[in-house]
């Protein structure tokens, strides 16, 4: 761990000013990922700007019937919030599929979006990694890559985004509200995280002096037919090999609206408009689900050890859609897969 300065931001504008004034500064809220990375000397911020006391902890209804979630709402509070449970159970389920109770209590919503990959080479400063030190090369490409990306990869990086929450947010069409020196803006969550291309050091589109202020959920909430299915190497407290956020609306047995997102397979939550469009108007049958899975996984490219993810993801998509269609979402408390 390096030596660093500590500042506490008085308000959002103050946080932005502090960020702009110190190119090596980082924001800290729950610190559940940043502190780990600092202990490993992967992150070496010159200054930590403590935003944990900023008034960004509200969950409020928006004029159009959606929800606006402050960036500092703890993951646990969000997962157990009555409005989330009633209206966006897919999001609650995804959050509870991740980490441990202790981590969820500390971790903020904004921080969850900013968590970094678990690629072992990113964590080990003795090995080359383009994400940690641009231009040094990607050790995973021809190294240990069992849990690396199969979609949207580049020659520079095959890391995955480890968040569960983001996968549900991607499926739900969430917006990310951002404040910065040039004012406020908002982007779709699916545009917030980047693909690695030739700049894998950049996980997101967030500018250096910008701060996430809120996540906004649109009114479309899929309260009945949804499932978050996470497949991992042990039954709890492990990152996803593959995870699926599935949400549909049914008219009879016909799908009127469908959302699908994959976690654990790419540098960002993976959605395909084509796959979702293919489901709309179709009967909710395993065949149609399989076709959608194939579209979602189009272009998947395995490396030496992660080829299993393609078949696993296809099966997990079909299963999650069956769970969603039958209104028997995957329980995160009971480890048997429904």
């Amino acid at each position: 761990m390096n030596n660093f300065q500590y500042s506490r931001a008085g308000d959002v504008a103050d946080a932005i000013r502090l960020l702009a004034a110190d190119p090596g500064a980082k924001l800290i809220a729950g610190g559940t990922n940043l502190i780990d990375l600092m202990k490993e000397n992967v992150e070496r911020p010159s200054r930590l700007i403590d935003i944990s006391r900023l008034p960004l902890r509200d969950i409020e209804e928006t004029a159009d019937g959606g929800l606006r979630i402050g960036a500092l709402v703890p993951n646990s509070d969000l997962a157990y919030h009555p409005l989330i449970n009633q209206r966006y159970p897919l999001l609650a389920s995804a959050i509870l599929a991740g980490a441990s109770a202790q981590l969820r209590n500390m971790a903020s919503v904004g921080g969850n979006l900013m968590q970094r990959t678990r690629c072992p080479y990113f964590y080990d400063t003795a090995t080359p990694c383009n994400k940690r030190r641009p231009g040094t090369g990607c050790s995973a490409l021809d190294g240990l890559n069992r849990n690396h990306a199969i979609l949207g990869t580049s020659k520079s990086c095959i890391a995955t985004n480890p968040s569960d929450m983001s996968v549900a947010l991607a499926a739900l069409g969430a917006l990310v509200h951002i404040a910065g020196p040039m004012g406020a803006r908002s982007v779709a969550l699916t545009d917030f995280h980047r693909l690695p291309d030739d700049k894998p050091n950049l996980d997101t589109i967030l500018g250096r002096s910008e701060i996430i202020t809120a996540i906004e959920l649109p009114p479309h909430s899929f309260p009945r037919n949804y499932s978050y299915l996470k497949i991992r190497d042990r039954l709890s407290y492990a990152f996803a090999l593959v995870s699926v956020a599935a949400a549909i609306e049914l008219e009879g047995n016909a799908i009127s609206e469908a959302r699908l997102a994959l976690g654990g397979v790419a540098h960002k939550p993976w959605r395909s408009m084509e796959a979702e469009a293919a489901l709309r108007g179709q009967a909710a049958t395993p065949d149609h689900f399989g076709h959608a899975a194939d579209l979602l996984l189009q272009g998947a490219t395995p490396r030496a050890h992660n080829g299993f993810k393609i078949a696993l993801a296809r099966r997990a998509v079909v299963r999650a859609l069956i769970q969603a269609a039958s209104a028997t979402p995957q329980s995160q408390a009971h480890k048997k897969i429904a």
């Binding site: 761990m1 080990d124 003795a126 090995t127 039954l235 078949a311 099966r315």
Partner: protein, 733 residues
Amino acid sequence: MNAYVGTPTSRIDGRAKVTGAAKYAGEFSADGLVHGFVVEATIPRGRIVRLDATEALKVAGVLEVLTHAHRPPLADKDEAWKDEVAPEGLPFRPLYDDMIKFNGQPIALVVAEEWETAKFAATLVRIDYEQDGFATDLEAERGRASEMDKPHKPRGDAKAALAAAALRHEADYLVPTEHHNPMELYATTTVWEGGGKLTVYDKTQGVQNVQKFLCAVFDKKPEEIRVLSPYVGGAFGSGLRPQYQVVLATLAALALKRSVRVVLTRQQMYGLGYRPMTIEHVALGARPDGTLDAISHEAIAVTSRYEDFSRNDTGWAEQLYKSSNSHFSHKLVDLDVSTPCDMRAPGAASGVCALECAMDELAVALKLDPIELRLKCYSDRDQSEGLPYTSKQLRQCYARGGEAFGWARRNPAPRSMREGKELVGWGMATGVWEALQMPVAVRIVLTANGHAEVSCAASDIGTGTYTIVAQVAADALGLPIENISVRLADSTLPQAPVEGGSWMAASSAHAVLGAAEEIRRELVHLAKAIPGSPLADLDAAAVTLVDGMIAGNGKSGAAVSIPDAMRHSKLERIEKEKLNQFAEDKSHARNTHSAVFAEVKIDEELGVIRVTRVVSAVAAGRILNTKTGRSQIMGGVVWGIGMALHEETVMDHRFGRIMNANIAEYHIPVNADIRDIDVIFVDEPDDRINRLGIKGLGEIGIVGVPAAIANAVYHATGKRIRRFPITLDKLLD
């Protein structure tokens, strides 16, 4: 006589542990305590050509940076570095010279007023290496394997018998490198007492081993170094040998003439010992009725370039299965890694795993029930020496374990049992370990108020030694357990070996009996000396200590209280120390056994594995404490589940570096992975092995568990996974 032995007695140190009163090695403090942080090598083999600590030394609060080129003297002779359990070879010496022998090797110690300062300054130490060619991949280097001493003499001609066998099963099973990951981090607090004297609080399984080692390494007299390890937060074999942090903390204390604490990080602990990756090649030849004609078991394991670590992986079939021909071999491949070390049931956990998977495969080939095959081959003798057992109730383990599990309801066909989307698999395996016993000395100080202090240098590594020592002492002295206090793990206390190998329960219990007998004789002598003593006419052998009294056996009612007897002679305390040596008896084999049954439920499409039930039926002589004993077996089962499904230290052989050196990525079971575990202790009276009939439980709990699960996975899916751990990707088509 047995108010406590054999009963479910709560840990006498439990309250101290759960309230935080129990202090561990890294929690002791001293005036002026300073902190060391280890700088590790980042290459697997080569030489340090430059080590520049200039920037680190500029940091406020940094006191010293010790390196091979800048440190107090360390012993030159190899013998000085050999501790009591060192394998053949030249032990590793931290900060000794510029040579790099493994990735993660300690190459500098930054000492600072605060731990955080030392940790930060450690990042500023600049090192240039000259890297040499290296090899870390066992499978790639398999061809270099060299034969160690044969674990057992071959019998007959296994090769010919295999070739002629009606049915043959032959396969490689791969057990990966695994790390112990005890909850407590490796830590040493070396207290500078002045006058060249040091008190060393160390996380170790053997304080006297560490004490002798430090005296040799630092050329100290025995009275100058005292080592204590009153509580150990798990070790599982990783603390049998002195670890490098105890050398570094002591080196720094000598350099600075101050008290120094060195605590390793979880990541740094992956630079210590580990269970070596081993390729287990098993070949079985059988007749159609299940009679075994040949058993061949060859292990090829990792070791370091500087020491030959090997354990008994092969040859367990000699204890378990009758076969007229057998052949065993153990080979090592020396690689650019640190030396492996003992890890719970070393050798057996890996070797029996392979043997028991192979037996399951043979049972399938023979169309025999797996238990039926094992009973068909059941051996009442240890075939390697041709010896009968002091006791062997393995048949009862199969019977009682099978009954509790419901084995009779098993449909033998793979993929035949299912529940909804899940395939259900039932598998079983046998476990076996040794019942060892070692010389241990115990001192008992009995005071006239009827309290006794029992002391011994043995460690309690979480296994319950404090408690069983108190139980045995309470029974032997006829006192309530509340009147017994136990002191352990101080090198100045009576002699004990390292705590390992499952030998400490029997060894310490009989040492307590020996010292208690000395106390009894003294008390009888005192009681008879009282004028008009009701015991005056009784033979000493007819007098027992019971309920705080020195009492005649039988119904005579003749008795003198302990306080009366002692006060009459104006004695406030009686102190007796006795070294217990077990009589050598090579007429019988001594082993513990188990039968393990496992149920798995596996999502057919997704491969997700749940271990829903495990029954472990254990035959291990008399169980001293059924409460702590049950916990110990449950812990072994949990670890066995981890070995089957989760644990694997993963190395990138291009860098020779461990890539999952943390317990986020190195998986062990979490609560969600553990369901029903049923522990059955099979009655196994054994009046030959030792007076109390004790065999020890430390290792037997894990042995067989990985194979039972692997066999259950096969039964569920029809897929035989021979590379552990069994992760779900291996089950997908």
